[in-house]
Assembly symmetry: D2
C-alpha cells in the first residue's frame, strides 16, 4: 500500500511534460524491448494513464493446443500496464513490474489481439493498473490482469 | 475452491500410469508448444507433481533495460506449473491455466534461468501450484508464481 | 481457463429465474454468513452480475495503525465478488471462491466503505469478477480485487 | 520488482537488533490490531523471517456453508506475512500490505487453523512472502498466499 501523497518536485515535472514528450518517452522505451519486437507487438495508442497494444496470432507463440500462450498474452498485458504506469511518472523515472495476476477466461483464439492497460491509482512510487485482452474485436475480454508497478530512480543500469 | 475428493475412475487411471508413460505424455505435449520452442526452453526434469525447465538469456526476449522480460519469465513459470499439474492428471485430461500471480523480486539478470513448478494441492479438476525462477544457480529465486490450473475433458480442439 | 459454452439446461434455468427470485436467493445466502453479520456489512444492491456491499469503520476490525484491516477489506470484496458471480449462476448452484488478488492502494481510512463486485466473464463453472473498495464517496478506490469463483453442484454440505 | 541492494544504515540496524528485541517489536505491533483480537488469533511463534499464527473455528467468522470465511483466512495469512516481513525490517520501519493472492484449495473446515508466513526475498523496501494455512494438523494446506509488503518510514500516522 503505497502512500498517496505526491512528491512535489516530481509531480511538477509530470505536469510540465507535454503529451507529445510523454508519448515520445513511452515509444522510445518500448522500442528497446526485444520481447515486443520478437512478438511483433504494435504500440497502437498512448495517453497519460492508458496504453493500447496489439499483436497478431503467430504459431511461434502458441501453447500445446495452438492458442496464443498465456506467457505471450501476459507479456503484452504486462507491457500495456507498465507503459500506462510509466506515462504517469516523472520523466526521470524508470518503471519495473512488482507483480501481476492474470486470469485466462477463454482460449486466446483469434487473428488479432488488443491489450489495453489503464492506471487505477498512482502513488508516490507504486502504481496499480488493470488491463484487458480482447480477440478480434470481441465485446468481452478473454484475459485480464491486475498489476503493481514501481517507479525507480537513480539505479545503475535501470533507466527509463 | 475446488473439491478435494477424487474422481474414482480417473484416480485409478492416474495410479495405473507408469512414471515413463507420464513423462512421455508431458514431453509430447511440451513439444507442441510453439512458445517453448521459440524461447528455447529445455524440459530438464519431470516427476509426478514437479517439473523443471531452463532457458538461456537471449536479447530477443528482453525488456527495456536488457533483462529477461517478465512475460518471458512468466511463460516459463506458467509452463512449469502447467506440466507439474498435468503430470498428476488422468491420461485423458488436457490442462489449461485458470490464473496465476507472478512476483518479480529482482531483475532477471543472468545467463541461464531455471524455473521449477510444483503441485501444492490437486482437487478433482483444479490444481494449485507454486513455482520459483532462479538465475545462474543462485540460492534465492528472483521471481515466484502461484498458479491455478484446470483439467479439461472432452472439449473440442483441446486435447492433452 | 474455463470453457465459455454454457450448460444448456442450467442456462435455461438462469434465464427463467426472475430478478426478484435471484435477489431473494442472494439475500438468503448472504444472511447465512456469520462473517458478514460480525463485520456489520449491508447488502446495498443486487443486480445480475453486480453486487454492492457497505460497512462502517469499527475499531474491532483494524490493523496496527488504526485503519480497516486488509483482511476485513478483503472479506467484503470477496463477498461482493462471490454474490456477483452467484447472481449469474443456476438456482441450484452453490458458489465457492477459488482465488483472489487484492491490491491495497491507500490506507482504508474513512467512516463508511462501499465494496462493489462485478462479473467480468462467466464460464460453465468458473466466473471471474473485479471489485472496487471506496471510502466515504471518494472518486478513486483505495483497494481493488480480481477474483475467480466456481459454481458447485451436488456436493454434500455445500448448498447455495 | 524492488531493488535488491540494501540500505546500508538500515541493514546495520537490522543486524544490531537482538532476537528478543525483534520479537518484542512484532508482539507490540500485533497487539495493536483490533482485527486479530476480534478473531482471537494467537501469535504462536516469531523468528526473523517467519511468523506462525493460530485461531479456532468460530461461527461468527463463517461463510454461508459454515466454513471459516475466506476473508478471515486471508486476514490471518496477511498478518502472518506482514509480521514475517516486519521481523526482517529496520526497527524504525512500519509495514503495510501492497497486495496478496490467496488460493482457497479446500473448505476451511476444522477446529483449529495454523497460518505460517515466511519471507521469500526482502528488497530495500518491498518484501515478498509466502504463507500456508493448515487445519487441525493436516499435512497439506487448505489455503496459500503470495504477498507483497512494503516498509514505510516517516509517514504521519503510520508507525511500526
Amino acid at each position: 500500500m503505497p502512500d498517496t501523497s505526491s512528491n512535489q518536485d516530481r509531480a511538477g515535472q509530470v505536469e510540465a511534460e507535454s503529451a507529445e514528450a510523454m508519448e515520445a518517452r513511452v515509444r522510445a522505451s518500448f522500442k528497446r524491448q526485444g520481447m515486443m519486437a520478437t512478438l511483433g507487438v504494435d504500440l497502437v495508442a498512448v495517453e497519460r494513464g492508458r496504453v493500447e497494444l496489439a499483436l497478431d496470432h503467430d504459431d511461434r507463440f502458441t501453447q500445446q493446443h495452438g492458442f496464443l500462450h498465456a506467457g505471450a498474452v501476459t507479456a503484452v498485458l504486462d507491457t500495456a500496464c507498465g507503459y500506462a504506469a510509466f506515462s504517469t511518472m516523472s520523466p526521470d523515472a524508470a518503471v519495473l513490474t512488482v507483480s501481476f495476476t492474470t486470469n485466462l477466461m477463454a482460449p486466446a483464439a483469434g487473428r488479432r489481439f488488443v491489450m489495453t492497460g489503464q492506471v487505477v491509482r498512482a502513488g508516490r512510487t507504486l502504481v496499480v493498473c488493470r488491463a484487458d485482452a480482447v480477440a478480434d474485436g470481441a465485446a468481452r475480454p478473454f484475459a485480464i490482469m491486475q498489476a503493481t508497478l514501481t517507479a525507480v530512480y537513480d539505479r545503475p543500469g535501470i533507466v527509463q
